[in-house]
Each structure stands twice: as structure tokens, then as C-alpha cells.
Amino acid sequence: MNRIQSGDLNNIREKRVHEIKKFKAALMVCAGTGCVSAGSFKLKDLLEKELKERNLDNEYMVVPTGCNGFCAQGPIMVIQPDGIFYQKVKPEDIPEIINKLIEGKYVDKLLYKDIETGNYIPKMENIKFFGKQQLIALRNKGIINPENIEDAIARGAYNSLAKALEMNQQDIIDEVKRSGIRGRGGGGFPTGVKWEIAFKTSQEKDVIPYIICNADEGDPGAFMDRSIVEADPHTVIEGMLIGAKAIGASEGFVYIRKEYPLALERLEIAISQAEEMGLLGKNILGSDFDFDIKTHRGAGAFVCGEETALISSIQGKAGEPRQKPPVPAISGLRGKPTIINNVETWANIPVILDKGAGWFADIGSGDVSDSPWNGSSGTKVFSLVGNIEHTGLVEIPMGITLHEIIYDIGGGIPNGRKFKAVQTGGPSGGCLPASHLDLSVDFDSLTKAGSMMGSGGMIVMDDKTCMVDVAKYFISFLKDESCGKCTPCREGLIALYQILDRITKGEGKNGDIELMEEISQTMSLASLCALGQTAANPVLSTIKYFRDEYEAHIKDKKCPAGVCKELISYSVNDNCTGCTICSKKCPVNAISGKVKEKHIIDPELCIKCNVCYEVCKFDAIEVR
């Protein structure tokens, strides 16, 4: 491949668009991690084989795409240009898919079925889950082959870079500032302001700054960064290039989780393709701008999402945070000004330059024309997971309510259960109750309510979720992930865990709640880094909104949700038909009973493994 100039982008785009137009339709097979695990690569191969055998491979093309974000229904296939959406596609469905495609019809059983009306909905755009979304960061998901740079260019990739190369540095920064975009990784710091600090510092000190892309998506329950890199790695590269041009960096790093092998592979392919084309390296697009990107694999430490710990890890050290200030934008990697933005933030940058700061600022909530701090502009990707009908990634304008997301997009709570809480902001966030469903989803409202935006995980919990157990879960998670350097975080988490553990075992005492609040306050005031400072949020927010549940555990020694093992028991009710499946599956032979007779669980033997509940088809197992 030849190194290209700015003007060549158009030619490549037109050529590729022309190539695609020659086909009658494109069968886009989702090849994100979720769908791959459900067999989508095999599906893709079989599709190609079938088309070839039927001499149709000149009329229909098969494109492996990145993650669609609707992983629970995988493997997913979308037929473009009509946007026909098939889910849970199996190899044996292939001949019929092709037959119907030729006829201009659909395979009904693979279509999405609306939960309210029961009607099949053939087109993606008409599915509520997708219809309400506005795609900026995810604009190319499922549409391009992430391993083909020409596909990306055909969708406009690197146009904004070409534009940025014509602009002066301060103008780029001003554009980003005016858009009002705030960091999508957790803290919500205005991106343009961060860039400006790094730019000015490097000018004053006459040093070359660095660019880092944080792809160490740490918050459990959030996977938008993985999706973006898997689906559209070039947007991340382009965002970083624009940032580099803006602040004058010549070297950038992507710090990516080891748990995301597919994303890493795609990113490395994208980097090498961009290098070959002269979109990375020396004299980018024929200009005098040079920029290289290296990838670093994370090795499994949540704390490395913290900027200073991430820098430490990139330099080949244990990921221990250091005191801020100075912030990395002033003194970061190798002591040089360094801007760190997460994947989603970088993915927004090319669009901001393309469509303009004003366009972006108009989306979202609040008026950011004076200061990015006054609102939350743009969209945010959430991963809507947990006890919800439609799990998956949703990109929505900031400012819509939790209710809209959970019920209108997510389809509400399945299995006839009740909504109990939604957890946002990862381990540092909090749990919001039903009374907060009308809350506007933006940086400041969430923080005010005792949670936070974080990187966009949104875990919906039904009434079978114990909030004390959830708090214990987060504290246990953080206790395990705390680097252990500073006293309040290390010892505070140990203390909180001990207390929560006692409470969930029915050994809670009066004063436990107050002691936890005291510990939490010290942790938030005195901890060294953001991990420790926010580590107690899950405890504080659950105490705030679900205090009665704590009291039930402490005073009544009961777990109302039926989760805490020490406080519950399993029994068989009269629904039992004596089918014997539970007694066969019980790993400790605690269930006895004759065929067609009601069974009995021996509480002395029962280890509360839940397998009986899982396998029973008659709702005959009760957990209390």
C-alpha cells in the first residue's frame, strides 16, 4: 500500500463505496467477542461457502463486523442496505437466509420479536432498543469490517485528521473545548481543558508531551470501550492523532486490558494498516506531522485505570498511584505533560471536528457555551446489563432519564420481577433506588444523587438482589484491587469488608452502620487516589437508600432478597410434582423423595448451591 496524501482519502472512499455498491446486499456478521463465542466466525465461513457454491458471491458480500452491543442475542447478522436484523443465527439457518434474501423476504423466526406486541420487527431501526439511540462513538458499529481500513475510510475516517492538519493547535483545542465534551472514563473532566493544560505546559517547558488512550476498561459491567475498539479501531487512532496534533505529541500509547485479546488484535491490525498508508509514522498525509502509537497490555489490575497508576504500569512497574498534583497533563509519562483519555472520548473527537463543536454541544443536557462544567454535552454509551430484558450497549444523548433507558430502551425487568436499583459508575459509583428513576442521566445529576457516571456501566437489579450483598461484593472487589499503598484505602476496605461480612452472616451489631459511615468518610477524605476516595460509595449509597435492608440483616437476622447464604434456607413447596430432577442434580444428595411424590431438602446437608432452584421447572423450590 502506498503512503497517501490528504487528497487521496476521497479517492479511496469513492473507490470503496463503488466496490460495495456492486453488491446487491452485504451480510454483516457480528464478530465481537460475544458473538464470536456464540460461533459467528463459523457462521461467516459457512455463509461464504454457501454463496460461492451457489455462484452468488459476486452479488452478495459477507462482512465480519465489530461488536453490535446486543451480545445476549448473538450471533447477530444484519443485512445491509436494508438493515434487516437477525438474532441467534445458527449454521442450519443459512440456506433459508439466502433463499429469502433472493426473494426479498425475511426469515421470521430469526427476527426480533417485540415484547409488548409480540410482532416480528424485521428492521433494526424499528426496534426500540436501537431506535432511541443516537450514535456518535458507536457510529460505525456493525457497519464496517474493522480489519479493513478502506471500509473505515469509506465511512469518513481520517477526514477529520486531514482537517486538523490544516488547523493551528490552539484552534483544535478551542474546538474541543467549545464542544463541551467531558471525559467518558469516569471523572468527567473537560477534555479540551485537559488538552490545553498539556499544550501550554509543554510549550512553557519546551518538552514534547505524550498521548495515552486508556483502554483498560476496568469498571465491571462496562464494555463499551471493548466494543468500540473491536468495531471501529480507526476512530480511536484518528482521535489520538487529532489530540497529538493539537498538543504537539509525537508518541502515543494505548493501554489495553489483557482480557480483551480480540480488541488488541484488531487495534494492532488497524495501527499497522494506518502505518502502511502513512496515517501514522513520519510526515502523516504528506504534512510535517509525525506520530507513532504503541500498545501496552494491562496485566490485570483495576487500579491501573487510575491515571498515575496507568502511567506507572506503562513504564513497566507495579500500578501504584502517586500523589496528584501534579496532574499528568502537567507531569505524566517520563515526567512530561501527558493527556490520558479513554477510548470513548477519543472516538468522539473525529466527529466533533467533522460536525463542529456547536453541533456536539447542542446534543445532551445543560448549556456548555460558557464552560464545559455547566452541563453534559454529547452522547454517552451505557452498557445496560443485569436483570433487564434487553442487555447491551446503548448510546443516548445525555440528559435522558433512567426510566427511559431502563424501560423504553431496555424493555424493563424480565420474569415479572420488580425493579429494585440501578448501579452506575462501576465500583466507585452507587446504587440508585426506584425513587430516582426520573433522574436525568448526566455527570452532575448522578454525582449529586450519590453515584457517578463512571465509564457508563449500568447494572439493573431486581428485587432478588440483596443490597447488603451488593455492597459487600463491591467492597470485596475493591479490597482485592486496592494497591495497598495508603492506609485508609487498604485498612478501610479490610474493616468495611469484615463488618459487611458479619452483617451478611447474621452477626451484625448495633453501631455497625455508623462505624461504616465513619470509616467511609475517612477513606474518602484521606485516601491517596480516586480509587480509595470513592471506594466507600457503594456502602454509603446503599446505606442511604436501603438502610432498612441493612437493619433487617442486623436486627432480624434476615436477608429479605434471599441471597445471603447464612440467612436463607431452601425448601420444596406443594408445586413439586416429584419429577426427581432436583435430587439427581443436587451435588450433596440433600434432596430425597420418591418419584411423583413431593421431595424434601435436608437443611443439614444443603449447601445452598441453588442448582435445585435452577433446574426445577415447576417453581417448587423456595428460597427464604
Binding site: G34, A301, G316, T391, G426, I459, Y473, E481
Partner: protein, 153 residues
């Protein structure tokens, strides 16, 4: 040791990339042997104490050999609320090992992992390179049997 040197060379003996070197060493030996770390120290000049801190700090590394099939049970939030703790209990019971341990036949090792980023499929586990979603307690014995069989063939 030749393998270790190849790995170190692959990363140009760059001290910034010791974590990557160690990941490759872990993949190669299923653990981090002391001799390998000493070689990394020798070549990169990164002190052994610092490498040891890294080994014990990051979850990817293990000082004792991990099983042929590494089982990772996702303990992310979405998986937690969808029953991951019960799945984890089930594995510890079936394999008679705790988190971080390896079965005596060297076949399986068990880890809890923070979020595999497949929250839509919760609860999720991986065995080796394969990812399984929507796992039930009752699935665990079947899955393990499949791998045991696969190993015997």
C-alpha cells in the same frame, strides 16, 4: 532459557515492556519461573525486587504453574447479580480447589476475573480460549467433563 531470551529480544530488552515480557513468559510456562525473572533482570537491568512486585501485583501472573485449562469466572457486577458467586462455588466444589489454585492433575486452575466485558451474556466464564455465557450451576459438571474427555483423546 533460550525461549526466555527470545521473548526478551522480542520486546527489544526495553525496560518499559517488562510486563509484556512477563506475560509472554507466563503464557509460555504457565507460570513465572525464578530463573526467567533473573534473566529479565540481567537483560533489562530492572531490579528483581521490582519484577517480583509486578508478579505479585498483577493478576495475570502466577508463581506456581497454572492448569492446562485456565478457568476464569467473571466476577464483574453484572455477573454477580446474575449468580456468578454460585458458579464460582460450583467450580471450587467440583474441582476441590480454591481460587488461585490448580488441580493436582495439572488440568485446571481457577481464577476469579474482574469483568470480561461480555456483561450481556452474564454470568460468563472462560475455559482456555473459549468463552461461555449464561452459565448455570448445573452446566458446570458437564463443562468440566467435556474438557477432561478432550484431554484424554
Amino acid at each position: 532459557m533460550e525461549k526466555v531470551n527470545q521473548i526478551i529480544q522480542k520486546w527489544n530488552t526495553d525496560p518499559d515492556f517488562v510486563i509484556e515480557m512477563m506475560q509472554d513468559i507466563q503464557d509460555e510456562f504457565r507460570c513465572i519461573p525464578r530463573e526467567a525473572l533473573e534473566e529479565v533482570t540481567l537483560k533489562t537491568k530492572v531490579p528483581l525486587a521490582r519484577l517480583y512486585h509486578i508478579v505479585t501485583f498483577y493478576k495475570s501472573f502466577s508463581l506456581t504453574p497454572r492448569g492446562k485449562y485456565e478457568i476464569q469466572v467473571c466476577i464483574g457486577t453484572a455477573c454477580h447479580v446474575k449468580g456468578a458467586p454460585l458458579i464460582l462455588d460450583s467450580f471450587t466444589r467440583e474441582l476441590a480447589i480454591q481460587i488461585g489454585e490448580t488441580t493436582s492433575d495439572g488440568l485446571f486452575s481457577l481464577e476469579g476475573v474482574r469483568c470480561l466485558g461480555c456483561c450481556s451474556l452474564a454470568p460468563v466464564i472462560t475455559i482456555g480460549d473459549n468463552l461461555y455465557g449464561d452459565v448455570k450451576v448445573a452446566d458446570v459438571p458437564k463443562l468440566l467433563a467435556k474438557y477432561k474427555e478432550g484431554n484424554n483423546e
